[in-house]
Every structure is written in C-alpha cells, then in structure tokens.
C-alpha cells in the first residue's frame, strides 16, 4: 500500500474525484500556474498538467471573488474545490460563505444545493497573526455548513472525497504543519503524518470520529495538530501510569458527540486541546456538551487547553508559548487526576 503525506493524499483525492466526475474542478490562487508550488502547500501540484487549466482555475488574489465563483458554480450544478491559501483570508469571503453558501439550501426550501468544497489551511507557523488562525469555531457556529478536519493522510483522502460528493458546502480544515515535513513548502516544525493510503476507492464518512488511543483514566479530545500533541502527552502520561484515551473527532459538523460522551462515561475526565483562542471556542462547546449530557459521569472539572486570548505572536519563541504544548496537556490531565 502506498504511503503518503497529507498533501499527497489530498492531491490523490482530488485527482480521483476529477477523473470520476467531470463536474469537479479546482479554483484558487496560484494552484495551477506553471513553475508554481501547486497552491500554497503543494496540494494541487501537477494537476493542471493532468486536467488542464479549464479545470484547475487560477484566480487573482481575490478571496471574495473566488468564493463567489465557487458558490455560484456549485449552485449551477458543478462541484468546485476552492483553495484559499491561508484560512485567515476566509474573512474576506465571509459574506459569500456565511450569507450565501450556508443559507441557500435552507432559504430555497431545499431546491438549491451548494455542493462546494473549501479547503482551508490553518495553524500558527511563524508567519504572524494574519497567517496563523485556527478558524474552525467560526464555521462550526454557522448552520448550513459541514466542517471536517482530517489529521491523517488516510482521513484526508477519505474525507475530501466525501466532501466533494456531499450536496452541502463543506469546509475542509487542514493544518499547515501536517502537510508533511519535506518538500518545497514544508513549514518549520512540521510533522510527517505519513500513513498508508489505499489506492482503491474508499470514503471516510462525514460525522464519524475515531479513538486514536484507548485509555481508562482520562479522555483527551484533540483535532489536527493538537491531536498529535494529545497523543504525545498520552505517551508521557502512560509512563506515569495514567492511561489517556485520545479522540480525534475528524468531523466537527456534524459532530460524533456520542463517541466523546461514551469515552467520558468510561473515564470520568475530559481535557480538550485546540489551537484556537480560548474564549467562545470549539473546546468550550465540547465542554458544554459533556457538562450537559454526561455531568454525573464526571469525576473532575473539564479542562481546556487552548491558545491564550491574543492574536498569534510573530516571535518564534512567543509562538512556541502560544500554541498548546504537550506539557500543557500533561499538566491539564494531571490536574484532573488530582495530581496537579
């Protein structure tokens, strides 16, 4: 079985879907230009040679415009995969996404579908506050969108393919440090979550989370990069005799709530790790769900490990401090165990 990085797995998913369905096309900034990187993070590298510039559309730096084109094309029956380089730029296209894409199916009584995929790189990578945000919570808060966040190569391919085939607008959040640690566009500090990716057709269903590591003492929920921080923390905790269960929700909307609740009912403790800012964040929502629906199973206060409520700092040492660390996860778990 081939082993791929997440960038390669995403490219393979796009390739398969474009070959399968002539309505599928890509749109974005510098995604197909000759001599370019294949988007900001190499995902579409080489696809313009395979499929031509009619299906790999380069746009100017114009996020509102490219989002509008993608949404309009989707409403008219095509299946666009849009790429915004950095998730932060989605704010430029917020009206298109929040007011048009998310609401169109509801406002039309289901007669208009918006089968658009938006690929959104997130995460702090030493590029300053405007190229660093983790935006998931903004979009999980918007009814009408589906939101996925693959953290492995296998899930990246399987979820992107499911997203292309879904009749709703789907945002695919990808972490910049997970594309791979090699190649021309690898970011400093990147991980290499290279994994087996079957060549044959498979889909990862939207709405299903996964237990990445089983444990009896505490449930740690992490997504994207923080899922890896959680796994590393779990390794360290295991040396101290604390067995952590690590859950990767993979899909944020719809959320596999029952997976998290079942785990908390088992362990009685919950730590949520995310790279977004603390206040009003996605971790707060998970915390509320568990407090509401599994309160009597809790044996300790729920802890959130998030970035502080400031923009991401530019100085590398400060960014290091800003992004939730393995140590912080370990400490949060120890607190819930009464050992903090």
């Amino acid at each position: 079985m081939p082993r791929m990085s997440i960038a390669e797995a995403l490219r393979q998913a796009i390739r398969e879907e474009m070959a399968r369905d002539p309505r599928v096309f890509c749109i974005g900034e510098d995604i197909g230009i000759e001599g370019g990187f294949g988007g900001a993070f190499t995902v579409t590298l080489g696809l313009s040679q395979e499929f031509g510039h009619d299906r790999i559309l380069d746009t100017p730096i114009s996020e509102a415009g490219l989002a509008g084109v993608a949404i309009g094309a989707a409403m008219a029956g095509l299946r666009p995969i849009a790429d915004v380089q950095y998730g932060d730029f989605l704010f430029c296209a917020m009206d298109q996404i929040a007011n048009q894409a998310a609401k169109m199916t509801y406002m039309s009584g289901g007669t208009v579908k918006v089968p658009m995929v938006m690929r959104v790189p997130v995460g702090a990578t030493r590029r300053g506050a405007q190229h660093a945000q983790s935006l998931e919570a903004f979009f999980t808060h918007l009814p009408g969108l589906k939101v996925v966040a693959p953290s492995t190569a296998y899930d990246a391919k399987g979820l992107l393919k499911s997203a292309v085939r879904d009749d709703n607008p789907v945002l695919v959040f990808e972490h910049k440090l997970l594309y791979g640690s090699k190649g021309p566009r690898s970011e400093k500090g990147a991980l290499s979550p290279i994994g087996d990716v079957p060549e044959e057709e498979y889909l990862v269903p939207i709405g299903k989370g996964i237990v990445r590591r089983e444990g009896r003492d505490v449930t740690i929920v992490g997504k994207l990069l923080t899922m890896y921080r959680a796994l590393e923390a779990a390794e360290q905790l295991a040396e101290k005799g604390i067995e952590a269960e690590v859950i990767d929700p993979r899909s944020l909307v719809p959320l596999d709530k029952e997976l998290i609740l079942a785990s908390v009912r088992k362990t009685g403790r919950l730590v949520i790790v995310e790279e977004d800012n603390l206040t009003g964040g996605w971790a707060a929502d998970i915390s509320a769900i568990v407090a509401e629906e599994a309160f009597f199973w809790l044996d300790a206060p729920i802890k959130r490990v998030s970035a502080p409520d400031t923009p991401a700092p530019f100085a590398p040492v400060m960014e290091e401090f800003y992004v939730p660390s393995v140590q912080q996860v370990v400490e949060a778990v120890e607190y819930t165990m009464g050992e903090g």
């Binding site: 009685g268 300790a300 165990m337």
Partner: protein
Amino acid sequence: MATDVLVPPLGQTVDRVTLVAWYKEEGEAVAAGEALFAIETDKATLDIEAPASGVLRRVSAQPGDEVQVLSTIAAIAAADEAVDTPAPAPVRQDQAAPPEYQPEAEAATPAEALPPDRRDRTFVSPRARRLAMAQDVPLAELQPTGPEGAIVERDVRSYLDSVPAADISPVARRMATAAGLDWRQVAGSGPGGRVMRQDVERALETPRSPENEVAETIPVRSIRALIAERMLRSTLSTARVTLTAEADATALVGLRAELHEDGVAVSYNDLLLYILGRALRDHPRINASMEGDSIKVWRRIHVGLAVDTERGLLVPVVRDVDRKGLAELAQETRALAERAQAGQNTPDELQGGTFTLTNLGMYSIDAFTPLINLPESAILGVGRIKKQPVFAGDQIVARHMVWLSLSFDHRLVDGAPAARFLQRVVQLVERPHLMMA
C-alpha cells in the same frame, strides 16, 4: 446599616429547614420584596423575599444545608459597608461546630469574603457522588484526593475496598431473597467471608423468633419522620393531662339534621370547630403556647383539624374559626382536607394553629388520650356519637351521647381552668342554641 437575612419562622414547630437555592449571588444587588432564596420543609418548598434593598453579602449557608429557623444566613448591605455581625453557621449533621466567623478577614478583602465553613467545604465530584449513593458510602468518611481537595471516584472505591465487601453467591442470594432473609446478617463461610448456599441454609434452619420476621421495612422519612419527632417531643416535653366528659349531643344531632334539611351540609367536625371558636374565645388562656419561659396567649383562634391521609397524619389549620359562619367553615374545612389527601397543602395551611381538633368517632372509638400538637397547649379528642339509654329525671330515654377528651399541658394550664373550658364545650354541644346568645 446592614439588614440581616433571616430564615423565617414557619409555624411554631418547624425549627430546621433545608436551603434549596439562592436566587442572587453574593455581591449581587437585590431589591426588597424580590425572591431571594428558597427553602424546603417536609411539606413544601417556598420562596422567601429579600427583607431590604442593597447588595447580598456574607452568605453563610449553601443550597442543601439545613438551617435553623430565625438564624442569620446572609446580610443585605451597601457594597462597601462593613458587615461584621457574626453569622451563625448552618446546622450540619456530619460536622462539629464550625470555627468562629472572622470579620476582619472579610473587611480587608471582600473577594475572599467566604465564611469559614464555606472555605473549608469539601466538594464531591458528580461521579463520586453517584457511586457513593449507589453503594451507600458515607461521604464524610472519605479521604479526598481529587483536584482542589475534592472527593473523586477513586476515594469512594478505596473506601469500598477497605470495607470488607458483603458478598453473596448468586444461588445463596436467590434463596435468601425467596425466604425474606437479610443475608447481611448471615456469617459467610466462603472465600473472603462470602455468604454461600450452606450459610443461608443454616440460617434458615435456625428457628427464628417471631420479631425477627420482618414483613416490610419502611424507612422513616419525610412526613413519617416529622410525625415521629413531633409526637415524641410532645410526649417528652409536655405535662399532659386528659380530661374526659360525656356530653348529650342529641340537640347537636338534631341541629345538624335541620341544617341539612335546609340545604346547609355541615359535618360534626364543622359544628365542633364552630363550638371551639366560641369556647376558646371565652377561655383565651387555653388558646396559648409556651415559648421559652413565657406563655403566649394568642389573639386569633386557628384550629387545626387532624386528617388521616395516605402519607400519614396531617393537620391543616382552619383560620379564625370564631369569626366565620358554619357554611364558610364547612367549605374551608372540606377544601383543606381534600388538599391534605392530595398532598397539596401549602406550608401556610399546615402551620400556625393555636388548638387542635381530632375526631375518631367514625372508627367507633369512644374516648382516647390525644397527644398535644406542639406548641399548642391543648387538643380536643372526639369519640363516636352513640345512642344510649339515659336517665331523664326518673325516666330512661334514648339520647345521642358523645365522649369528649381534652388533653392539655399542665405547664400552661391548671386542671380547673381546663375543666371549665371542657365544661363550656360540653354545654355548647348539649345546648347549641346558646351560641346565639
């Protein structure tokens, strides 16, 4: 000037209530008359209003705490005002007296203005509480090891591990259950003291005295617990004497029949309430309570009526019986009794009585010695009305006779005045037209 927030008196016999909830947080502004907290008696939950406007300060009782009636559980003051009166701590069954309240500490840092009993509070995780309740583990005996000194699941588990597990094999359990045997009383011979089949067999072979055979075990809770406590207190703390007198109720029986004919449906209890209202007005010293070292003679006459309900004895109170007409009394009494049967009386309806009427006539009881319903000073027990041969002059005639039993507290009332009161009741039963005089 700070105003103390007191637990209100709820009738003269309720001395502890459970604090259910605060509607305001400490430090929050509150207006006089706004609902401030909720308390629960054995009978009902009710909201208590803020006694003044200002900021809620010095909260010393938590939801779930038992608090003494008339104790101070908070204060309402200006935000910057020093509130330094010691706050009596809530009553806790499982704790020794809490340390003295320290006003200086509070004055210095309002943010840390928690009374000591709250600062020292041990929290229990929901999971641990759940397990402890399921396993009947006393929380007070646990060693907390959780975050912030909370009791967590493992503390409950280690307690359970430390206590020899009462265990029984499934077969033995079935046998014990079928035979109504409490297997926890059986010495186990299995590994770790496990109760085995032969242990149960042996226990069943041992002849048991009849009192061992429990048909049903009923926990003493709620109304039963309240009745038990009050009846015992009445017995232990009053100097009870019962006077009995036989009254000729023929005229009363006739009066009731006539009232019915004229469309006024009244019961004997209604008539007796009416009579008691007039008799008590004539003998105000009976309408009294002992409070500490003084006797309170009540201006108004509120007579409780003992009602047998599924949940136990309840005594709803009919107010101002001396000021109401018979029809009104009848209507009110019926409504109160119906609500008592349905368990829907408000606390107000179950308190504030100054005298009690209890009637066992419908069970063919002739006379009895009722217990005084504290803090009242007397209670009238009514027996059945029975047709009897009676001398009228030298003639034997058939009359409707009834025994009246007056139990009174000799601490407050002497025998002669009590007798005079009973005499007056007898007179009004025998000659009801005198009530019009």
